[in-house]
């Protein structure tokens, strides 16, 4: 703006005003989100950026809040979200966890082997993407300890899991190695019930609920992601760290 132009005729003033409005045209770039052809791609990039920022904000040593037993949500009030079937028909007697991928000792692992690792019990908040939250008492082995037991390649970037109900999920290695990430086989000091994912589920207080897969049947240590996750494939965030 020139200070010297103190007197302008109507036409010049209109021109000045018009130019000022035209300077605002970058705002119209937001209109790209309204174009059907571009919308999905733009939103995917936006979500991807959010995931990237989430991964940068994750601190491997920072712990999720733990709570006193008095703060626990009573078991009957701990919701059960299903995915496909109510009862995926897990044969608890013969169940094994198939371990594959970048590990020195692949193969079938029995629950007793997971339970032979030091048992961690923690009272943590479980947050559902829907918006509700509860505080549960979870028990299991540290996933990091299990990965050590199977000789997992520490440079691998991902863990993927498959489940008895055909649910599937994946985890970044930093979160997998977090001290509060558990291969969980207990809730409220009892073995997991069928509804809560017996015999084994992921329990990850630093992640949103849907990443904490139930009814685990297979665990793979991967350098590249082959399958991402059921809800991610529907359009939800992959990293979703809390």
């Amino acid at each position: 703006m020139k200070n010297s132009d103190r007197k302008l005729d109507q036409a010049k003033f209109r021109q000045v005003s018009r130019r000022q409005v035209l300077k605002l045209t970058p705002v119209l770039a937001l209109g790209a989100f309204a174009v059907p052809k571009w919308q999905a791609g733009l939103l995917k990039k936006g979500l991807g950026f959010s995931d990237w920022a989430s991964a940068r904000l994750f601190r491997p040593g920072h712990l999720a809040t733990t709570f006193d037993n008095a703060d626990l949500t009573p078991p009957p009030k701990f919701p059960i979200n299903g995915y496909d079937v109510d009862d995926p028909g897990v044969d608890l007697e013969n169940w094994t966890l198939t371990v594959r991928g970048a590990v020195q000792k692949p193969g079938e692992y029995k629950l007793a082997q997971v339970q032979s690792l030091p048992r961690i019990r923690q009272n943590t908040r479980h947050v559902c993407v829907e918006g509700w939250d509860v505080i549960g008492r979870f028990g299991g082995a540290r996933l990091s300890a299990f990965l050590q037991m199977v000789g997992a390649d520490p440079t691998a970037r991902f863990i993927t899991v498959n489940c008895a109900d055909d649910y599937y999920e994946s985890l970044d290695m930093a979160t997998a190695l977090h001290p509060q990430t558990l291969l969980c086989y207990e809730m409220y000091e009892q073995p997991l019930t069928r509804e809560h994912g017996a015999p084994l589920r992921l329990q990850i207080p630093t992640k949103i609920g849907y990443k904490q897969a139930k009814y685990l049947t297979e665990l793979k240590v991967m350098h590249v992601l082959d399958r991402v996750g059921y809800w991610e494939d529907q359009g939800y965030s992959w990293f979703y760290g809390m």
């Binding site: 302008l8 109507q10 605002l24 705002v27 939103l43 936006g46 904000l57 809390m242």
Partner: protein, 234 residues
């Protein structure tokens, strides 16, 4: 730039004649203020719309079992279509909203232009006369500057609410990585309530703002597009 004045003239007859001043215009709103205003008009619209769709997924602040819904917000007045879609909008536009807010605050601070809109102690005496005029048919106080004390109060509050919408949003988004922030709000469960409440406070401000914009006429509205306020009362 504020206080930059133009006299709009009309030249009549021969070149030798003195030009007649037909009006004045004051440059009230610098480019970055206008840019941020309109970008965040869109961004806020998307954040509220998608936020309400997210809320619809669990429209309660109590327990899940048993679930008692607080409010049934219609899907037609929400953005995203479903929780997954709404989260995509919300987690995309939050960055636009925040970046624009930071740009606006940074510009206002470093240019000194904040003085035009920031509510200060000397503005306190002027608030009640303005309230009386707007709501209780009181006399119109003299117009001395671009924003009257009540406006400064409203806009300063709105900026604070904007900042709170981001802080409460961060606490809901990452209650563990921003655990100190979540703690200040009473934890994740309460942060979600605060985030919702701040949204309604912002919507209340927007309603009042729109009413005032309509009441104060075309020239006033135009100033947020061109920057120039034609024939101001001061």
């Amino acid at each position: 730039m504020s206080g930059n004045v133009i006299e709009v003239i009309q030249t009549k007859g021969k070149e030798d004649d003195e030009p007649v001043v037909t009006g004045r215009a004051v440059y009230e709103h610098p480019f970055l203020v206008r840019l941020c205003h309109w970008v965040n008009t869109v961004a806020l619209f998307v954040m509220v719309g998608s936020g309400l769709q997210i809320f619809r997924a669990f429209p309660s602040f109590g327990a899940k079992i048993p679930q008692k819904d607080l409010l049934h917000w219609p899907k037609t007045f929400a953005i995203g279509g479903w929780l997954g879609g709404a989260l995509q909008w919300h987690l995309t536009f939050m960055w636009i909203y925040i970046a624009t807010g930071v740009l606006y605050l940074g510009y206002q601070l470093f240019s000194g232009n904040y003085r035009q809109v920031l509510f200060a102690p000397r503005d306190v005496p002027g608030v009640w006369p303005m309230v009386k005029h707007y709501f209780f048919f009181g006399p119109k106080p003299a117009v001395r500057e671009a924003y009257n004390p009540l406006q400064k109060h409203a806009y300063t509050t709105a900026i604070i609410l904007g900042v709170l919408s981001v802080l409460t949003g961060f606490a809901v988004w990452k209650p563990i990585q921003f655990s100190w922030l979540a703690w200040m709000m009473g934890g994740f469960h309460y942060a979600r309530i605060w985030h919702f409440a701040v949204m309604w406070a912002i919507l209340f401000f927007v309603l009042g703002h729109l009413v005032m914009v309509i009441l104060h006429g075309w020239n006033n509205f135009l100033s947020m597009l061109t920057g120039w306020k034609k024939d101001p009362e001061y």
